[in-house]
Symmetry: C2
Subunit: 380 residues, 2 copies
């Protein structure tokens, strides 16, 4: 089965949408949150944990996997799905963001990016064509083209030049991927376009216009969550999503605190990825329906209740805050694992609840209830 | 149901025995290997992983748990089983070994051991009575009395004095546990005796004689695996097990490389614990039917086969050596977890195969086959 997006319902009072993505590795209900499996593993969790919690799709990082284990090994393994034993849909980013944030001595030109690996200092080169080639080997269901993600804040002129190059790179990526046809789906892989333009509405809008003209299988908002105020992010969403084709999925890259998810689904986003829930899981912070719980804190040492009374995940149905606090206090890996499991379960449930609310045209009410309870403790 | 040991079968040609231990938390087939759950968790694994692989019994450490989270918290939780959510049998050691190996500024007297916590330097005191009190709070099914574990090598005079004190401590422990009755099972907890005497046969034999006279629910060989040659260990087993009551379980404390398990079961040991399989799991060493595999080594980067072709554990049925090697190369926690899972599964299977061989009076043949295959690569 090839890639397909079906828009099932639009909430009557907000921009929120419920849909379904079909891929060669199964279907995913949207809105969906894709746990981050940077190095071909969602940190601390096994594939069966992710299946059990109903994680619909995983994100893996092209940059990281190209460096380690390297594309030769993943090719020999028969692709990323088989290598990591995840049979569901996978999305790979292009490495553009990581080249900018991790690699050293990078040199960006029209041709592509020369950089040194942050692991061993080896010299590497990513061009739009090279990235498509790597992603074809990885074999993800949704793939992203190489883009330039400008840092924040960014001068207007740089942002324009950069956005224009990102558009040209997108065109080269499409050409490399689709071999001259218009179809953005090739080899079972759906190529998305990435919208850049920093926080300049005219640049973002122009980028959208150009990319939509090129016809991608979906559209991603890139260059967000780079240090800007939340209001700026939401503003970009407010003017961007109405310009995007209704019948294509929309992906907000790398953003996803619980509040972000709700605010962005409301503005018409369908796909998310973010390291936040897994990173917090390992740092001892749990998300609950009534806000964050920093479970490693001493205050939880005597609390013989679950992380979240409303949660029925493996962690919450078997272990107490006191036990988790003990695991964090003694640096036990099981603590990282149980807390990560809970956080991703919380995210999965949250996406499911939002979808249900959309289908029932009560997203605004859901949003109100969510924040009323969630924000009692903390704001994000 | 109270504690009970049933000797089911003795191998016709060796000292190997198959039995069954009944406890208030279920039954365990012997010989059994108890994974080490030092701090109320078997490192990297969740209780359901251990259930799935058929781990019969866990070991937890009195010393570690008394320091963190402390007995007050475990008491509030309703005991160790509930605290860590493990419903099967648990065995707690006495802390004697840890006081000697971890604690600082210890002062041993007839009364007990004064020491400083290796965590926070706090002053603590363990007496035989205090340890029984802690273990009653922990609530394990099998409990060990405080003993002195002399270092190796040990002068004869020290070894004698120490063994004699260990016997007096054993008597005080029994008194504290059984409140004047002869029954070594009290409050559902079975108290074992620990045999010391360094590597002096007359001391070991005298210790056995004294402890057997006191009537314990089982007997443990302590003070082993302290740096002595393997031949010395096996020699102690050779002359000790024939002196122990046939109808009581025998526990070899803290020893358990795969070869040790086979050699010791042959000599009549029923219960084992050892950090070796879990520690190796985290260090990137896997046990397989044809010897050890140091999976973190580069040589495995291109091996798209399971750790052990003969193994049907979750790790081996889903992941390749190449993937595990990648996880170790990138410091991913899932690598530690999958490898630990496999190692304990290997141990569980090994114990099960030995039991089957005993029941069929072919332990010698099993031993021969095992070493023929296992020692092709490496000796331990």
């Amino acid at each position: 089965m090839d890639f397909e997006f079906e828009l099932i319902h639009e909430d009557k009072k907000t921009g929120a949408r419920a849909g379904k993505i079909t891929t060669p590795h199964g279907t995913v209900d949207t809105p969906v949150f894709a746990p981050v499996g940077t190095q071909a593993t969602v940190k601390t969790l096994a594939p069966r944990d992710l299946e059990e919690m109903g994680a619909g799709m995983l994100l893996a990082n092209t940059y990281h996997l190209a460096l380690r284990p390297g594309t030769d090994i993943i090719k020999e393994a028969g692709g990323l799905h088989r290598f990591m034993h995840w049979d569901g849909p996978i999305l790979t980013d292009s490495g553009g963001y990581q080249v900018l944030s991790l690699a050293t001595l990078r040199k960006i030109s029209e041709e592509g990016v020369h950089f040194q690996s942050h692991i061993d200092g080896s010299h590497r080169f990513f061009s739009p064509e090279e990235v498509i080639k790597i992603e074809r080997i990885l074999g993800a269901d949704i793939i992203m083209p190489l883009d330039e993600c400008p840092s924040y804040p960014c001068e207007y002129d740089y942002a324009r030049t950069s956005m224009e190059m990102t558009c040209r790179w997108a065109e080269r990526s499409k050409e490399a991927h689709s071999a001259g046809t218009d179809n953005p789906v090739s080899n079972g892989q759906a190529l998305f376009g990435i919208i850049q333009g920093s926080f300049y509405p005219d640049l973002r809008k122009e980028c959208i216009r150009r990319l939509v003209e090129m016809n991608f299988a979906g559209y991603a908002l890139g260059g967000m969550s780079v240090g800007e105020a939340k209001a700026s992010t939401y503003e970009v969403l407010d003017y961007s999503t109405p310009l995007l084709p209704r019948d294509k999925p929309r992906y907000l890259m790398g953003m996803g605190k619980p509040a972000d998810l709700v605010e962005s689904v409301k503005r018409g986003i369908d796909i998310f990825d973010c390291a936040h829930p897994t990173r917090c899981g390992r740092n001892g912070t749990a998300f609950t329906s009534s806000g964050k719980v920093v479970v490693k804190n001493a205050v939880y040492a005597h609390q013989f209740v679950p992380l979240d009374e409303d949660c029925h995940c493996y962690t919450c149905s078997h272990f107490t805050r006191a036990y988790l606090r003990h695991l964090f206090a003694t640096n036990e890996i099981l603590g990282l694992r149980l807390n990560t499991y809970h956080n991703l379960f919380f995210y999965t449930q949250l996406m499911g609840k939002m979808r249900q609310a959309i289908l029932e045209d009560r997203f605004s009410e859901f949003e109100k209830e969510f924040f009323l309870k969630y924000s009692k403790n903390i704001k994000d």
